[in-house]
């Protein structure tokens, strides 16, 4: 509920989102998506939603990244855009 901290985390989240959709290497994009989820978790902890932050830290940064990496290694990591 400190708006300066909120502003900082929102800027970081936006940078991570823009980087994740613009990088051509899919594996790098997925790792940046993990960083995006982590900053989102910090943002929720700052807003006081401790349960949501815990869930995001447990679910999105670990299991989601594992799923994406497994799928990318099975398919291909090159992308044209």
């Amino acid at each position: 509920m400190i708006w300066q901290l909120d502003f900082l985390f929102l800027i970081l989240v936006l940078i991570c989102a823009l980087a994740a959709i613009n990088i051509k290497d899919l594996l790098s994009a997925v790792i940046i998506l993990g960083a995006f989820s982590f900053f989102m978790c910090l943002l929720w902890a700052e807003m006081g939603a401790v349960d949501v932050a815990f869930t995001e830290a447990a679910v999105a940064t670990s299991v989601c990244t594992i799923l994406f990496v497994g799928a990318i290694i099975k398919t291909t990591r090159r992308s044209k855009d």
Partner: protein, 96 residues
């Protein structure tokens, strides 16, 4: 094509930003979302369920149907993944 999509996205984003002008300010304790159902949950939850974590109490007790459906959704997702990817013919095996 990309330019059309960009214009569409910017237009819809601008419309949504115009919509936020009427919303209550961030963190307003008197906003409608904070003043209807949730005060009852906060005041009653500990006395009626002996659970200090209000989120747990609401998740599993007051809104138990919701959580049961959600557990079923996860179970269904696991079944769908198994049906799609588990080996059932020999030709898939060679290409993977």
């Amino acid at each position: 094509m990309k330019v059309i999509i960009l214009i569409f996205v910017i237009l819809s984003g601008g419309l949504l930003i115009y919509g936020t002008m009427d919303m209550p300010a961030w963190g307003d304790p008197q906003s409608p979302a904070n003043s209807y159902v949730s005060p009852r949950y906060i005041e009653e939850a500990y006395a009626k369920t002996e659970t200090p974590n209000i989120v747990s109490a609401v998740l599993a007790d007051y809104r138990g149907y919701d959580t049961m459906g959600e557990t079923t959704v996860i179970f269904t997702a696991a079944l769908v993944c198994a049906f799609l990817l588990r080996k059932n013919s020999d030709e898939d095996e060679d290409k993977s």
